[in-house]
Symmetry: D3
Subunit: 325 residues, 6 copies
């Protein structure tokens, strides 16, 4: 018989934080931090919000993503039948939002990188996808070399420029590759289906990047896709996970800036993510949640779940084999 409250972290959290409460708070009353944690610093896994959206080319509002994901994340956590180890067994903190230079793109990217350098294992919630550039700069500096990259997205994000602008949420991975932050041979894009010029597509694959289109995911099976991903990034090198919520179909993630029809379904990304037990992940982000366009917080909930499954993978690594469910 269980003495654990389901659906919400409060009781465990309360104990961990040494705080005494009358009663555990139900989900709807839990604190609006990531996974309801009351720890704000000095944890093994640090989760930060990055309310930046100067790089968006269509709908605005990714600045409000961190708040929405915090709220939705109260619904997720603990153990799941997909992946038994308990993410609440991990030492996590909500380190708050990064500070930014409002309306100033270059200074803000520098500020993000500088702040990211302070954390060992950082999970970030965007903000638009341009935030991944300074996050990768920091991560590759800390790790001393180019990283493997698991990149869920509808868009290749390897344009040389968009609307004649060099730094946007569409040029971030071109720059990352050119700066040597990631190893394109250990980089894989999953869910691609955007409008894209053949030159951009070819430049990308010519670098060694593997592109797995959304249609390939739909026509294949999650375990096959997961196996391809693990094969590409390997299990020994440092690897980063970047999850653009628009890799999901607009039906699953309406709350985003540049939705593309024909995207992945929630169950597919869940099934793929929970099978990525091999790679050595050293950080991750989930980006492009624009709550003003969300409905019933389903986009934010998907974003929170991505973080939960990532943390579950980390817990799995240290807790050993799963119970026979």
């Amino acid at each position: 018989m269980s003495d654990q409250p389901p659906n919400s972290p409060p009781s465990g959290q309360a104990e961990r934080s040494g705080k005494r409460r009358d009663r555990p708070l139900p989900t709807f009353a839990a604190r609006e931090t990531f996974f309801g944690t009351e720890k704000m610093a000095n944890a093994e896994f640090s989760i930060a919000g990055i309310p930046f959206d100067l790089g968006t080319t269509n709908r605005a509002g990714a600045r409000d993503g961190p708040a929405a994901v915090r709220r939705a994340s109260r619904m997720v956590g603990g153990t799941y039948p997909d992946l038994w180890p308990d993410l609440y067994g991990l030492d996590i903190a909500d380190v708050g939002n990064f500070s930014l230079y409002m309306g100033q793109l270059a200074d803000s990217l520098d500020a993000i990188e500088r702040q990211a350098m302070a954390y060992d294992h950082l999970l970030s919630v965007g903000g638009d996808h341009l935030v991944t550039l300074p996050l990768l700069r920091a991560a590759s500096k800390r790790r001393g070399g180019p990283l493997g990259l698991v990149h869920f997205d509808a868009h290749v994000d390897t344009w040389a420029e968009t609307f004649q602008v060099p730094f946007t949420h569409g040029t971030n991975f071109r720059i990352a590759i050119e700066e040597g932050l990631v190893d394109p041979k250990r980089m894989v894009q999953i869910g691609i289906r955007c409008r894209v010029e053949p030159e951009v597509w070819h430049w990308t694959s010519d670098q060694g990047v593997t592109i797995i289109s959304a249609e390939e995911v739909h026509l294949g099976r999650p375990d096959e896709i997961a196996a391809r991903i693990v094969d590409i990034v390997g299990t020994s090198g440092d690897t980063y996970l970047t999850f653009d919520i628009d890799c999901l179909d607009p039906s699953c993630a309406p709350g985003t800036g540049t939705p593309e029809v024909g995207g992945l379904l929630s169950w597919q990304t869940r099934a793929i993510l929970t099978r990525l037990k091999g790679p050595r992940f050293i950080g991750m982000d989930v980006v492009e949640v624009a709550p003003a366009y969300d409905v019933a917080e389903i986009t934010a909930l998907n974003a929170a779940a991505v973080m939960a499954f990532y943390l579950g993978l980390q817990a799995k690594k240290r807790e050993g084999p799963e119970p026979t469910g």
Copy 2:
């Protein structure tokens, strides 16, 4: 050539109720009762609303589910290519909403049970999932023994307590099993994917309950799932259907209190339900529709369709073989 108006019950309904109208009312003008019926009592199949939501642990508002499903149900009815027999051929009534003890949980559960005892074959629209407990109490009393249970849900709902509270929409089936209302060997859960402690999962399967996870549904085929269900509940014993709308993915059912990503798609539940021709269903409910979070009434429409397919199965039983479509 057809003389039946499509998309709405009015003409048939009007005839059945003996009421004379100038013209059949189109869908948008039909009465906001279940399937537009004008019959309010004394039918073979009674449909009731149960506007109860004291058991919810996250978002509120399931109290408004019955009204939303009534409205959406005007779009559904008649005959479908999945299941030709005409549900309008059945004798149905909208018996209104059950009365409740506002803000008082225990008294309300008693009141639900007492009112449910009055009906031979009851279809209920919740309300949160805790309403199924008194509905099962009534059904098993009327039927004289434990029932088979086909249980669509994202959550196992077999916690011993949630947030230290013993009666919630997360403990209902633990209690039902412990009270002997259902036969766990003839109980099957479909769509499970919630956060759940291993102890709760094991307790459930140790009772004999079969858990079919959402991922199993996604990786399998509807006819296989349907066959497993029929195999578990059998075709001779009394069986109850309980359909928590959150078994659907949040993209299909945003209007619910505790959405979980990775859920079933509408076509899957439709394909499974319409293949459950064998079991002897003696009652059903659809629960957890929270209209304040719905969009374009798509959640309510799914709930209404579940009832329509259930009624179609009943019609099928008595009308014989389907036309070769």
Copy 3:
């Protein structure tokens, strides 16, 4: 390296229209015409809005479909990995909205037909599905005979009458068949799952129409479905494409008047459409977008994408083989 702005047409468009701009406009700033075009007449492909919704039997508001699709279409265009040829290579114009006799059904149908006669290759955005009747009248007149028809829909739309009314968005194809506008042997319906009387279903298939139910699409593969379609309409006769947005599941297309659960997913219609390279399409429409019920414009985006893929097929025809992606 690409010098094309992604995600939006402005730069190419600006050049084509001979207009000089400081800078290309990003997606969010592009003109709200179909695909951001600034051409308004005299193009090879003419795109018109038809803000007509007198034929709707449930929710109103398809009159606002053209505006919503114009807005959403700024996100789509160019080249896609599914179908490389560039739709911006085509000569397209947004010819504005057709004028109508407000509140007067018969006169409006005549006006639509009369206006449609003016265009060689017309793409139309409804409005409700009844607009397809006068569009087919015009197209078959211009082409001198019955047309093949690829018809995506949740509903058969071959009722003899709906609610005792002979001209609605549910009787349009019965009339089209009876008037000889389409050749039922070369007519195929994809996505059907509505409530329908057996008589109507049988009348339809008795005419020679092929009905591919939504469930068949879910249980099959897109390439098989596409092959069946091509087989039915052939590659030599003139063929028209009519796409009722409600063929999609309500999760993908909430913004429509008569949603039906269990529908096609965006990736499926995309995968099928982009494989229809063989047929000789001479016109198309996308109908039943009701923006008041849409969320985050996802329904409109699906509608715009359907047009984009149709145009991509046209571009493909003249631009030859695709690059090896």
Copy 4:
């Protein structure tokens, strides 16, 4: 001490209808009829829905007005400090929705008139404002002559035609005046602020109609406006009340088809209406509620309140002097 439940009719209603309940239903659970009544025919005051919207020139959806007002009306009723007599003391019935000829304007107007003839004292919920034309035809026939008219609206609705169409929700009162259904000397419009040509304005006032602009209401006081109205329509002749919800400011009534900025505030219409104790009202309607554009049902709630205050005035007439509040 009170034994009356506040905020909802159930207990009183239940008693009146002779139906026995366990407990009174709280507001959220009450039946979705007008004021929660369970009486459906043969009352002194009959309330009907008219789901007609073929006359709208901008946004669609007034067809769904009756359902929304029914739902909202559960919140209102009983006695108010503005007007003590209890509207539940009156004998009222919800007679359902009028049947219509879908998509056919002329036949529908005839059908509305024919059905309206059946009731002594009819309250109607539109539907667009064109429904008032057949309602006035019926009322003036039954009463044997032209009626006084209290007309709340943003628009004069006395155009000779709109967009070259003679029968719309903008020409209704021109026709009513020309047909002699109302006596323009006893007709007063309150809240006018629309775009209007001087010719139309002058034609209206030349007939003898009094126009009280929205600005006059804002700059004056409700008791003065009420006194002017009573002065115009008198207290002896039969008078009809027509309330277009767009007389309210869009902030108070966003859920309507042709909103105009600068409108009346809820408190103003409430304060004016409750002071109209003198006139001999023989029927009323509230029109142009378009729920698809409403938020949190505030528009519908205003519509329901208008009906409640109208009924309160009727109750006042027969129940005598109010208590000293």
Copy 5:
């Protein structure tokens, strides 16, 4: 020249909390605590959320009020021209949400009272209005006697029972008066306009309570209303402020459970509140914010502003005369 960032607290807050930041966070990035404070305990003014909604009789969802008001409160703070003293000059803390007995009304009321006892000067954000009962119990205990009460509301909330239930958000002040928690001679209700039985109205005024109807506010001037309030509660006795957000018109506060048309406008409550400099307030609450029904967070923003003006009044008391603005 100002070196203070407008529209948001971060810089001042950061300094007060001793935390060093790169840059002040703009409003959209500020922490989602009350007024963005980072202090969580041991302040002169403690602000708590009370996510309780078991007492609601119509729409659910007040449980989510605290979160919404926290978010909106980031927009407000500092100094206003109405009331110059800086609320950031005050020592405030966000003490989190009170814990509750989920689904259990009586235990929850006890828990609220017990927790409230811990704070000297408590500001609470509901939750439904029933929370004010235990808050008053705690406050009167701490203060040793009955309190004066300034009560903004649409409803009198002095029913003996609602729907035969004794403890709801409609009976709270009957109980408070009967328990001697408030001194009815020093109690004033502002904004009343609900449906109410004469008996309830008379009972209330017979106790000595002053009722100022919404219409009186509309027909009067804010300074007169403020003067009446101060006259009733006096300036020497302890006084509590309870602000039910539904005292505002639904146009200003759609996000609430039991909206009533004809309510106060935002400017009126602002103008009245900022003039209440005399009374000795010892605590306050703002209740009945139901975010699921809010639009663009305007209801939450009004709630946050009420707290800000209350705090401004406290700051005013100690900071002396205002600058000549």
Copy 6:
């Protein structure tokens, strides 16, 4: 008798543009340009969209303002009883959206100024309020000196910096005054009620700017406010009108980035604006419409109406005395 269609420009517009149509398009079908005009250049009055929102400090999305206002503007136009002269008598063009340097603030301000220089009499639709800075730079250059300024707003917008950033939508008028673009003695702010430091307030008034708070408007009368404005800006010097939509109360304008409670009501701004017949306006803008937060386009409708009344004032100037209405 009128032969003008009400509520929409199409017929007149069509005639002016020389285009022949079957029938005038009703409002819902009219082209989505400003006031439905088909003229795109070379008019006396040019209307431009400026989709810029890099200056926002709270909610994003003003980039979508121009599109929303275009759409809403189809509802307004022609003649109003407040101001008879017909704005359609004026020569107006929709010159499209200004091009911008995406994500780059300084370059974008330059680009706006450069493009604005091309027009004699420019009406602009923002975008956030920072766009007014380059618009004033262009206007004062073209006019050869500082301008009078009628400034409707909730905020003074004269901060020296916001969040340590010098160029935002809160510093625009500090800069404009310091650059000598406006004459502070001929500058008046109406509707102010924001949080503001005394230093900023005093700096502003010390420059000679007149601040009329929102409360002054509420306690006064529109004609008095209008007279004060005319008195300040005079009738001989060039004057610019800038209308921040957040001067309106959030109930009237929820769709904006930094809403402040207690704002002006629609009728008040309408009554004030239509009385500003004296000043010599040489340009105007309406800014801060953020459609993602709007409901039922009421914010956009207010913005469109402001432009219509401004144009009506221009028409009035040349058309002489109004008819006696």
